[in-house]
Symmetry: C2
């Protein structure tokens, strides 16, 4: 079976999609060009939150620009970091004189380009702090670039977005972002790999009876293959290592994200959420809040990730605060 997409020239896809997103939500997001980035339509007098990274993970990050979350998002090409100049342009546009928190997923290109942009902006007198989101337990290692950043970035953006809206300072937001990142871990599995726009072959092949555990969100191979199994076992296989890594025990409370990687149906994600709840219930771990849906995708990858964030009253209160963006509203 070949894979084809709704696309004109694949090189134009990201910019055309930004235009389509702005047209659907003119009251929330504004599309800037040359270079491409998004800002809130109505800026607020507060510390600005800016994130971004390669495209192909939508609704992340562009779908999370709006009230109570991001002030700007900077998308690169599919699975490629935006340039430092793109990021600088977004920082300039988002800053209201109260400083900018840059939320960076831990990938070499993003770390480099957002880092340069932070320096360029600082040279212009803009106060910038950065936080590195590195929640992917599959890439835990004593050496190398460290854990990748995946779905926990949604929690960082939501929780810090709420705090910024309430008037938190740049220092307070940077500390809060570090706390959320440090308290969250994610694991993902794939039933089928993803395919780049304009290409027809997936990034890797799986046999009928295989599941790839520990996959990333860029079509990277995972940490190992396991036999295909009922969702109960697959979700347990994602959840148990996270519970261990966070040291969660009976009486603890979490915010949980069950995230579809692109082509996973809502029925399947609801079923996966049920299994997550059963697994945690059996261990006495309370789920304070759940987010279930396709929020951090890897193009059309089939599969899901589980994220757990150790929760307390402050984090749940910020999670519950109003948010209004194209893809997350409550």
């Amino acid at each position: 079976m070949s894979v084809r997409q709704l696309v004109n020239d694949p090189d134009d896809l990201v910019s055309e999609a930004l235009q389509g997103l702005e047209q659907a939500h003119p009251e929330l997001v504004r599309h800037h060009r040359d270079p491409d980035f998004l800002t809130r339509t109505k800026p607020a007098d507060k510390v600005a939150l800016v994130s971004g990274g390669g495209s192909g993970h939508e609704p992340l990050h562009t779908g999370f620009v709006g009230v109570g979350m991001l002030d700007a998002a900077v998308p690169g090409a599919v699975f490629a970091s935006p340039t430092a100049y793109q990021v600088r342009a977004a920082i300039r546009a988002a800053d209201r004189g109260r400083g900018v928190l840059l939320i960076i997923k831990n990938y070499t290109g993003d770390v480099l380009n957002f880092g340069i942009a932070a320096e360029l902006a600082a040279d212009e007198g803009i106060e910038v702090r950065t936080v590195l989101v590195d929640d992917d337990l599959a890439t835990e290692s004593d050496s190398g670039p460290g854990r990748r950043g995946t779905a926990a970035v949604v929690a960082v953006e939501k929780i810090c977005g709420a705090a910024a809206e309430r008037g938190a300072s740049l220092d307070e937001l940077a500390a809060l972002a570090e706390r959320v990142t440090g308290s969250a871990r994610t694991l993902a599995l794939a039933l089928a790999a993803c395919t780049h726009p304009g290409q027809r072959r997936p990034s890797f092949e799986l046999a009928d009876d295989e599941v790839e555990f520990g996959v990333g969100i860029h079509g990277e191979r995972g940490t190992g293959r396991r036999p295909f199994a009922p969702v109960r076992e697959l979700v347990a296989g994602l959840t148990a290592p996270i519970v261990g890594a966070l040291g969660l025990a009976a009486g603890d409370s979490v915010i949980a994200i069950v995230n579809g990687l692109g082509s996973t149906h809502a029925l399947e994600l609801s079923a996966a959420h049920r299994e997550l709840r059963a697994h945690l219930d059996a261990r006495g771990i309370a789920v304070a809040r759940s987010l279930v849906g396709s929020y951090v995708t890897a193009l059309d990858m089939r599969g899901c990730s589980v994220t757990l964030l150790r929760a307390d009253d402050e984090l749940v209160d910020l999670w519950d605060a109003p948010v209004r963006t194209p893809s997350l509203t409550w």
Copy 2:
């Protein structure tokens, strides 16, 4: 490439997914069992709106239960109508003594079972009115069962949900529902067919250079195959016949839905929305509001549908009214 899903026993998928949905949104939806259906957690003193149909189209209808939309949703097995007794149970649970509007997509099984349920409920003294949603232009015909019901049902549920919340009577709501249905048409295309949970073969096969136009949301073949083309041409091919069927002309205004059929990425849907806007802009047709996302799916079908609803101030005002459901909130 084989297709596999996150599922335990496929026969349990719908009920398990309902449980997972309730666990994610306990403040919005309540899962009833034996038989399976969903109601709002907090009933309101107003005319009740009840819909449903085969599963596999999620978030339709279960994701639209909540404030400002449905009071109850009744899911059958995947692509199979719920039973009349299931529907009656939902009608009984949803009715607050002010009557029930049943919103039925035009499929033989649904028409039969919802119709029987309406009669059974009427026998018990519950005032019931029904509306048949039949927006799929691909099934326009002078004979047979008439047009299928597809994505326009979201507009019917949203707009009538808002009117019900404002205190509209059952007669008013039935008339409003007829007006929305009569003013909306939809067309869909598939780049790849869907696969039932537990099965590994798609419902039809397409060659690399083919697109199926006029597909339904149950893996039905479409009305014809056309060459694969840029999204600009594909969207124009969906939109032009709808413009013609609704008799839209320069100066007219519409509410537009660009709907993903299951496995279509957010980037692609935003790109498709841009092409829809360009097509309508060129003809002087204004888009008052747009909804872009995967709202009425056909399991993991790859493709999209375009729905246009002729808009006026009243419909736009009801569209804009607050809504809070698991899958649609503003």
